[in-house]
Amino acid sequence: MVRRTPAAVPDASAAGGGASPLLPPTEPPAAVPGAPAAPPRWEAVGLSQAEYAAVCRLLLRAPGDVELGLFGAMWSEHCSYKSSRAFLGRFPTEAPQVLVGPGENAGVLDLGEGHAVALRMESHNHPSAVEPFQGAATGVGGILRDIFTMGARPVALLDGLRFGDPVVARARHLAGGVVEGIAHYGNCVGVPTVGGEAGFDPAYADNPLVNVMCVGFLRREHLQRGAAPGPGNALLLVGNRTGRDGIHGASLLASRTFAEKPEEMRPAVQVGDPFVGKLLLEACLELASSGLLRGMNDLGAAGITSAATETASRAGTGVELDLDAVPCREPGMNAYEILLSESQERMLLVAAPADLPAILAVCRRYGLSAARIGTVVPDGRMRVRFRGEVVADVPVEALTRRAPRYRRPARRPESPRPWSPPSGGGGLDQSGGADLAGEDGGRVLLDLLAAPTLAAKGWIYRQYDHQVQTNTVVPPGAGDAAVLRHRPTGRGIALALDMGGGACALDPYGGGALLVAEGARNVACVGARPWGLTNCLNFASPEDPAVLGAFVRTIDGMAAACRRLGIPVTGGNVSFYNETAGQGIPPTPAVGMLGVLPDPGRARRAAFPADGLAIYGLGPLTRARLDASAYQRLRWGVCAGVPLRPDWGVEGALLGLLASHDHLACAHDCSDGGLAVALAECALLASDGVGAHIALPARPGQRLDAVLFGEGPGRVVVAVPPEHGPALEADCAQRGLACRRLGATTADGVLAVSAGGRPVCTLQLARVRADWEEALPRWLR
């Protein structure tokens, strides 16, 4: 018998009618301990009145309080993707190497010889804004579980971070807390953090972004599914005990915009325990390879509810849960709390009853609590018993596949408007929109290198253990992508995480395409072929037609790029409602690119490795604009104009060349800060004493600042031993790729740059290096 509250029960005609929304109940629900009691009842669980009516229609009655909580969580934006699902199908997801595509806990790509790699990216933006240390730490814990749920051993973590301007104390507090939280979890659990990106911009002051990506290796035969097949099989809850933390994390924290005081949401943030996370990881991997499991799913957002219904939904079965069997951290927890708790470090295992003793023995060895909390049933329902009563009895599909899907109104973004440097003012030197004089080029270069977004990130990644597991061949900061060695096949795995910048705000379609192209170029720079990508789409409220319009165009741009470059999307995550007091973040997609290279020992780094090398620029070097550039932001404090879009002929030729050309001693993608910054970075990463003398080409009439700092896609700088220069030129010519000698590396420790024949700067690299490395710690220490 379902415990009913005196809520209005709809009449049958309305229930079947579909179009006419049901009237809301007029009486407030009876108080249930622990359940929020503010009327109307749908608001307390984050549903709209229309959604509440839809629940009533699906059940042919009003839901009980516990049932309503289930719908609130499972129909939240965070769990149901109700505003985004209609568009996510536009990504290309099929390719011969894709073993598991979107819809599972992680995507899986074939590596050959019976081996595979799992990858996934997820956001933990809202919790990190409320409590940066635990928010980021539990983000790492959650993404690790998504990977080992697949039967894969997590081998690498990457993080995409956005904070406000570090001039503001809150941005420093959030940045410091997030970095410490990531270090706390990742270091302890023994998974190296090998890469990522960190950017600083006032637009993220109230809504920092914390996107975490994890990659895992597995043998194909150990692949697990998040499914609960076979009626009669047992459901086991393993790991931490269930407590009162994180209730409403999915429905109220992650699926709404912030009011003025995010700290009031602190109780909805979970607390991570990396030690238990490590034990759970080892136990689950041991079980995955034992063949004893029929299914496995982690408990993340919406806790037991989500894990039980999603596994049942994937298998087309139902579940019966006995909440009295759930090990609780504190006495007196009610059904609502147990079902929706987001306590960390818990897994749901599905196994035949006969195999339980063996499974329990493994859990016991790792000191993990394990309890049989339910059974797979054939009738497609989720039935929940607690203290002798049935507190919920609803169709699994009503919670999962029948969740609302919206095609909210979307307004197509306007075409970006041309921009030209203003005639008056000018933040840098009061010279308005005038071009730089030659000697100012060096000063601007130093300013750009000391800007928090472009400065060296050693302060961040030196706090992360990036070597544990002894597979890290190219560590963070050394190359355009991190490179791991994959011991069983001897291949290298390249990993790059990129987040969209100003171009995504001005031209969502072009920005999305640029981002995918940049990720592909990054793994190509180290010598890999792009093999697949995961993504995370960070946006403001989808209820704003302009935001949703930009979201849709971003997806279209990314999808077009994936098709052009032949890169499948293995899954991803959408984070909406990154908005505080009406102020939303600009569109910020993130791409986690995975590439494969035949020999990790030949992976390229970005640093000029020696003196006496010939430096070349590949691609259309003078195809660059100040629009949406780091220089534009630094000098005029704006992000405006028409960013260039990728030229697919150039991008394809670059990927082909970089993956196959043998003579390149280093390679570095040209992105924020343009050619001058890219070349300076190659020199700054080099050993003491190595210098570079460079002459940049200019179009007739091209502004000097556009030559130095203009930004445009499809440009890569490389160095080769001079005797191999002709071979490089010939290879490029054959591919129709522009290739131009820019200069040489030297032994004088000096970066000397001229542009269009005019001298620009002569800098002592040792001093520049000190400023570049100290810039970030000066802000964040």
Binding site: N187, C188, G190, F275, K278, Y366, Q463, T470, P475
Partner: protein
């Protein structure tokens, strides 16, 4: 290789040992009370028991520690790396303690250490004064000891590794964590038990950026073979 709950460098240490020495490595769970007659014992790095109390503090209650003590007393080569060093100190097999790094932050990067003694089980194959480039990865590696105890440690030649620059000179900026007297690793009076904060197992392959850790691992092999020779002789 002793595995505590939360150890996370056990597989790395086993891999490096087998590559560097050709010997077989076995992982031993902390609940076992014997080491299967191992000639060499390594307590690898990690976060045993989560390091929630004090780093390494809870491990001395593990059944395996009696066997580790017995191996140490019998003169077998015992090495504690990072968290393993902290465990050896907490268990009283080595003096001192490892406190929070001076700047309160976790450090993961390469350092240089100078080999101060070459008659220990873990430095036999080194040259005196040899400078090794090794990675560190710890938040609590600041070696500390009351001054009287430090004097007796030094008098007994207990300081085996000291932080230095690439040229072997001790400099303030070469000490990453504020360790007393630049100490990166110490030895028992008999020289068979050594603890150090840097990770030699992470510097055992050129592909990963360095091989300076190999000489440390091979030292223990030589120590074990010499003991075997003595026993036969």
């Amino acid at each position: 290789m002793v595995v505590f709950p939360g150890s996370n460098c056990d597989a790395d240490a086993a891999w490096a040992w087998e590559r560097a020495t050709g010997g077989a490595a076995e992982l031993v769970w902390h609940e076992r009370d014997e080491l299967g007659g191992a000639d060499v014992v390594v307590l690898p790095g990690g976060f045993a028991h989560g390091d929630y109390l004090r780093c390494g503090a809870l491990c001395r209650f593990s059944p395996v520690m009696a066997a580790v003590r017995a191996a140490a007393a019998a003169g077998r080569a015992v090495l504690g790396i990072c968290n393993g060093f902290q465990i050896l100190c907490e268990a009283g097999l080595l003096p001192g303690a490892l406190a929070r790094n001076q700047d309160m932050r976790f450090h993961c990067h390469d350092v240089h250490v100078r080999v101060e003694r070459v008659d220990t089980a873990w430095t036999l194959a080194c040259a005196a004064g040899q400078v090794l480039r090794l990675p560190i990865a710890h938040g609590e590696g600041r070696f500390h000891l009351p001054s009287a105890d430090l004097a007796s440690l030094l008098a007994a030649g207990g300081a085996v590794f000291r932080y230095c620059d690439a040229g072997g000179r001790r400099r303030a900026e070469s000490n990453p964590n504020g360790s007393l007297d630049d100490i990166a690793g110490i030895a028992s009076p008999g020289g068979n038990v050594v603890g150090l904060m840097p990770h030699p197992e992470r510097a055992a392959e050129a592909l990963l950026g360095g091989e300076d850790g190999v000489v440390i691992l091979r030292s223990a092999l030589r120590w074990a073979m010499a003991r075997e020779g003595d026993a036969r002789g």
